[in-house]
Every structure is written in C-alpha cells, then in structure tokens.
Amino acid sequence: MKIRFTLNGERLEMDVREDQRVLDLLREELGLTGTKEGCGEGECGACTIIVDGRAVNSCLMLAPELDGRDVITIEGLSKDDEPDPIQKAFVDAGAVQCGFCTPGFVMSTKALLMKNPRPSREEIYKALEGNLCRCTGYVKILEAVENLITKEG
C-alpha cells in the first residue's frame, strides 16, 4: 500500500505493508532506531512519536495510518547537529542513565511543550505518565522538564 506523509519535515512517499506497525516501519525500513521498543503493548512509552502534534505509541499504530500525517521522531529534534533544548535539559539534569526510555520521555515532553509552553507540575506529570523509566526514579526527569520551563520563561 502506498502512503505519503511528512517525516521530520521531509515529504516521503513509500510502499508499506498494511499490517506493519509504525514502530517497525521507522526502525526496520527507515533506519530510524532512536524510537525504541520496550513493552510493545503501549505501557512503557519508549516508542513514543508525535503524529499531528500529539504523542502516540508507535507500537500500537499501523503504517497506513500515517498517510497524510505530520510525523516527528526523536531524530527530528536536533538541528544542525545541535541537540534540542529538551535533550540538553535532560543531559544537564542527569535525567539519563541507561538511556533506553529517554527518546520516549523527550518526545512526550516535546508534544506537551508544543501545545503548552508553560505547563504546571500537574500537567507535566500527566504528560509523562505514559513513560516508564527503570533507572532514574523520575525525579531528575521531572527536574529536567521544570528547569527547561523556568529557563525559557
């Protein structure tokens, strides 16, 4: 099946399998391995990408659903080899340990800030509740996001 969509600002047209998950399309066909597979059941959020401005689990979505959509993956955040401010904030706060969950957290944060540049603590919690981290205990991740907002404000 032929689909057209925008991926990280670039227009793409490609043939996809109807029953292929978006996660597999990104990783296997397009070589974008920044999006991770954790649970494969929508529990952990490691596979989070942004579709039409909203964070979604790419493991629960099928490739044909991308047709006509605007998709952002973790690879689309850095510009001119400079990390996105969110990525910088995570590094500065020590919010990264093994790093496996990090792309998902960064994408959930990105989706939140695209809609709401000054979220409350409650809104940050709500936006990140679908992402699991087994290393950091979450404190530094929340600090990273809060630091970013204070700095930008």
């Binding site: 029953d19 292929q20 929508g42 959020g45 964070a55 629960l60 509740e129």
Partner: protein
C-alpha cells in the same frame, strides 16, 4: 513484528467502511486494545477497518438532555471539549484516568464499550449515563442500550457487517452530585481493581435520583437498578451509605485475579460506598 498478517483498510466514508466490512473486516478505532490482543493471540482477524479517518464519525453533538459522541472521537478530544465540562463532568473525570496521554490521544469511548472489559472505565460511565448506541450496517441503523449490548467480558451484540456510529449519553438532572472513584495499583496505565461511579440528586434532603455503577467486580459493569429505585424518596441520612454498601454486596461477584483478590475487591467497594459523601462533587456552573 506483530506476528500475524492481516489486511488493514482506512476508509474515508461510512459507505466505504461498509464495503470493507462486507469483505469480513472488523471495525476498529484507536486500536490501543486491538493491537495488544492481536499480538498476544487473543484476537484473530483476517482484516481490520479503521473508522478513524471518517469525518462523519468524528466529533461531539450536544442536545438539551443528551450528548452524542461519534465513534472516532478520541478521549483527548473529549477532554478538550469545553461543552462537556459542565454537561458530563463525571465522564471527563473517568476519561482523564484512562491509560496515559499516548493512549488517550488514540483511544475512543466507543472502542472502550466494544472492548467490553468489566474494568472499562468509559464503559462504566456509559452504564451510569444510560448510554445508547447507534449501530449501523447495510440494512440501516438500530439503537441499542449499552447495558443490552454488553453480553459478558469481551462479548458484545455486534453482528458481522455492523459498526457503531455513536454513543449517546444522557445529561444527569441539573444539580446532580457525582463521584467517580477508581482503585488501581498505580494511577497511570493501571487497570482498575475496582471502580465506582455515582450520580445523586437531592431535593431538600430527599433523594430524587440515585444511580450507581460498579466496575471490575462482576463479568460486566454492574448497575443495580432495583436498589437504585428503592433509594428514591428516602431522606439522605447518616448511615444510608453504610446500609447501601452492605446491600450492594449482593449484587457483585468479584473474582481473584492477578490484580486483586475477590475479598479485597469487596472491601474496596464497601469502603468507597460507605464513604461516598467524601467523594461526591457538585457540578461546576457553566
């Protein structure tokens, strides 16, 4: 990989949807449950057909006494709908606790009803608000109460070739108090161990309308209509909720499972209902 191969259609009109259904496809929406069921082998489908691109199945329609939610409307779209905040605050309370942001961005209320899990929080609210489904096929459309549609855990009265257009929820009487209480192992992503939804309207201390729905304590959501009727016209007195909690135990049949024991579920429901006055909230004005 997902493990099995199947066809996947993304029709853009209801007419096209019907064509795919006549080829044996199952109608799906956000697929947040369907993808997991296929992956774990609990569901086998040769073809799926997504309603999510069909414009006529999107949005929310408000009437004086009811709200109609179209099948492709996501939970996030419900939460962002300002008109629902005072019309159906109990729905928004329940929806805001479903899954996670990622799940709410894809999942739908109609999908939750078709999934027919006894732990479905959206399904519980649909029971409580006397939800009515519009089910369509090549032969036309029919209307079915959610309570009659759900036959058991994961079992619903949807025939091959049919799809759900919308669910209509009745707006509770003005000035009703409401409560949605969910007990789970953690707040995000947790499937309810037990959940309770209540609507209560008082007039000078007398009960005018009372409704209660219980989740995760029987094969489907429980709505004890007889018990509800017996409460109408009673004075709202101390001890009433305690008596109610005791009587409710005759209506539930919880099981032991991976999330909680049957004993624990009974205790949780009892305690929530005994203390309902702590949870009841008023409807904020427009």
């Amino acid at each position: 990989m997902i493990g099995t191969s199947f066809s996947f259609y993304t029709p853009s009109t209801e007419r096209e949807l019907l064509i795919t259904l006549s080829k044996g496809a199952l109608p799906v929406a956000g697929m947040t449950d369907v993808m997991v069921k296929i992956r774990t082998g609990k569901m086998k489908a040769k073809a799926l057909s997504s309603v999510s691109r069909i414009e006529s199945l999107k949005g929310v329609q408000m009437a004086d006494d009811a709200v109609t939610i179209m099948a492709a409307t996501t939970y996030t779209e419900l939460l962002e709908n300002k008109g629902l905040k005072w019309r159906l605050p109990i729905l928004l309370d329940a929806v805001s606790e479903i899954g996670s942001t990622q799940i709410r961005n894809r999942g739908t209320l109609v999908g939750n009803i078709v999934n027919a899990s006894p732990a479905g929080d959206g399904l519980l609210v649909a029971y409580l608000l006397d939800g009515n489904l519009e089910i369509c096929s090549n032969e036309g459309c029919r209307s079915v109460d959610v309570r009659d549609f759900v036959k058991g855990p994961g079992q619903v009265a949807l025939a091959p070739g049919e799809y759900i257009r919308s669910v209509t929820l009745k707006i509770p009487p003005k000035d009703s108090l409401y409560a949605f209480v969910k007990v789970g192992q953690r707040s995000a992503m947790a499937i309810s161990v037990a959940s309770v939804g209540v609507l209560l309207r008082l007039n000078a201390g007398t009960i005018e309308d009372f409704r209660i729905a219980l989740g995760s304590v029987a094969p489907t959501v429980v709505r004890p209509l007889e018990l509800e009727r017996n409460l109408v016209s009673l004075k709202m007195e101390d001890g009433l909720f305690k008596t109610l909690a005791g009587e409710l135990m005759n209506y539930i049949s919880p099981i032991d499972d991976i999330r909680a024991s049957a004993w624990y579920r009974r205790e949780v429901v009892k305690r929530i209902v005994e203390n309902l006055s702590v949870y009841l909230k008023g409807v904020e004005k427009q």
